[in-house]
Amino acid sequence: MSELIRLEKLKRLYGAHLAFEADEVVLQPGVVGLLGPNGAGKSTLLNMLMGLLAPSAGRAWMLGFDAARESRKVRSRVGYMPENDSFVAGLSVLQFVSLAGELCGQKAVDARRRAHEVLSLLGLEEARYRLIEEQPTGIRQRAKLAQALINDPDLVILDEPTNGLDPAGRSAMLELISRLHREQGKSILLSSHLLGDVERVCDSVVILDRGRVLAHGEVSELTSSRVNSYRIQVTGSVETCEAVLTDRGVELEALPARPGAPPRDFIATLPGEADTRLLFEAFAAAGEAEPACLLSGLQPHEENLETIFERVVASASPPPPPPPGENHG
């Protein structure tokens, strides 16, 4: 399996509304996180990848198969664990998982044997003969995962797998997901709002917002772009501070401030091997030009998935609308 997912100029429109757009995205096998707020286009992307939604333009491949033209092949090699409960009411856990195997083309007897194995794998030995709709959330989540694993898929798509679980259950589910990749060799596409979950298990991420792919790549690569970063607070003239820092090769990124107020908080990324002495020297020079210009706060900035996500989404946000009556001639 060379590529897990490939998107080429993929676009989906609902009328005039852009639901999803991506120029070129290639994801390698591993554990991939799909991040984005509500309405970001995650569901649209997954539906197009599963072949259930036709793209307005462009093409998508999953596991080397054209998602639109070879939808059946895609779905026979992918296991999908939906976010919401989606059971066949009246079936036991074992019958439900066996049915999933039969729908994947297995004989009834083979599907039942495989269902027993997968349920044991997921620690559902005792619950297997009970009605699925009567089980607590943790067991239902595992049953959903079991039906996704019944056909030994190359890729497992998990949509909010820790929804409704208590901390212990959540931790156990994440451990299970990690082991599926580590010990069973499954690739995993994890769609979640919970950045902590994604960070804990994912090697790479795709960040979506308002239908667009804002960033994608390995988590380590995305965080390494911010090595040697500091969070600083400044007082005095912001322009002077910015000037002296950028002259010394420091990259500055303003953090959100109160509406109408100048930014005071910045993330400063220092060039090369430079250390904090560079900042002190710069502010000493700024103080000579304007005594009120001071470095009032300094702390190391640790980049994690949450900060990456906030930064990427904030940088892609459109500027706030102008106040009413303002002339934009």
Partner: protein, 312 residues
């Protein structure tokens, strides 16, 4: 003294260590993709047949069947007893006016009488067969597997049609065979090919037609109480209203086209070769009306399943 777990195992017994993380690979796809509808049908049938109310309705259908079967037996016994007697033909002809006669009408009447039980059975089975799939998001589960929409529809249609056939087509065929076997020769089977065709055609029409209608109604309404109410509207209220308009209010025959029962009855007459007073000059009208009913049901079902996407 510390006791190790190993000490508790008998030496060299080859104790099995269960490694739950080592599972065999999944079996290859051994069923043709075109047959993916079968598990859907089997599970649907299983869900309905394990309900107690199903057994009640099958019991009612069975009673009716046994009644007809007993009449055939009674008639055959009567014919054997009166055979060759001076006044035998008179009482036999009299009896034939009231009991099962082996003609197309009698088989049609049997299926029609079973239709009432079928209607009740379907009204309460609709939610289990189809409605719950929408209510409990089972469609998400089904369509995330290599299953096409038409295969899902076919699976549900086969499950429902088998239920209906169990009460109509199959017992009617049994009555046909029973009646033929009680004759002096097997000529009845040869002479009654039209009747056999009528039984098969009418039985299939009732099975597939009522199942299609149920799939449409259940997909739209989903809950048992709503399905029962609309079912009552279609099979009880509409026939009464159309009959009243037809008989008393001077309405035209075209009102009959709104009566699903009437349309089935009209088709059954055509299948069995029984002459019908209405629409004899324009037979395409009831056929088109029936097609419109079924087309609307199909559209409703297709529309509702198209609205389902894997990710909600």
């Amino acid at each position: 003294m510390e006791i190790d777990e190993v000490d508790l195992l008998p030496p060299k017994m080859g104790a099995t260590v269960v490694d739950r993380w080592s599972i065999s690979s999944a079996p290859e796809e051994s069923r043709s993709p075109a047959l993916s509808w079968w598990p859907v049908a089997r599970v649907g049938l299983g869900l309905v047949t394990k309900r107690r109310i199903f057994k009640v309705f099958v019991g009612l259908g069975l009673i009716n069947f046994l009644f007809f079967s007993a009449m055939i037996y009674f008639l055959a016994g009567l014919a054997a007893q009166l055979k060759g007697q001076r006044f035998g033909e008179g009482p036999l002809a009299f009896a034939r006016n009231f009991i099962f006669t082996g003609t197309g009408e009698s088989f049609r009447d049997f299926i029609t009488s079973q239709n009432t039980v079928v209607m009740l059975l379907l009204a309460i089975s609709g939610a289990v067969l189809v409605g719950n799939d929408f209510r409990f998001r089972s469609l998400t589960f089904y369509f995330s597997k290599p299953l096409e929409r038409w295969q899902y529809f076919l699976g549900k249609l086969v499950a429902t049609s088998l239920l209906v056939s169990l009460l109509t087509l199959l017992p009617c065929l049994a009555l046909f065979i029973e009646y033929g076997l009680f004759g002096d020769t097997f000529d009845y089977f040869i002479e009654s090919r039209r009747i056999l065709f009528g039984i098969l055609a009418y039985g299939l029409l009732v099975s597939v037609g009522m199942s299609t209608l149920l799939l449409g109604v259940a997909a739209l309404l989903q809950r048992t109480i709503s399905i029962v109410m609309v079912w009552g509207l279609i099979f009880i209220f509409l026939p009464i209203v159309t009959e009243v308009i037809h008989e008393n209010a001077g309405g035209s025959d075209y009102w009959k086209l709104f009566d699903f029962w009437y349309l089935l009855q009209w088709c059954s007459n055509a299948f069995f070769g029984i002459e019908s007073s209405l629409f004899s000059t324009s037979p395409w009208l009831p056929v088109a009306a029936l097609a419109a009913w079924l087309g609307a049901a199909l559209w409703a079902f297709w529309h509702k399943t198209r609205a389902v996407e894997v990710v909600s």
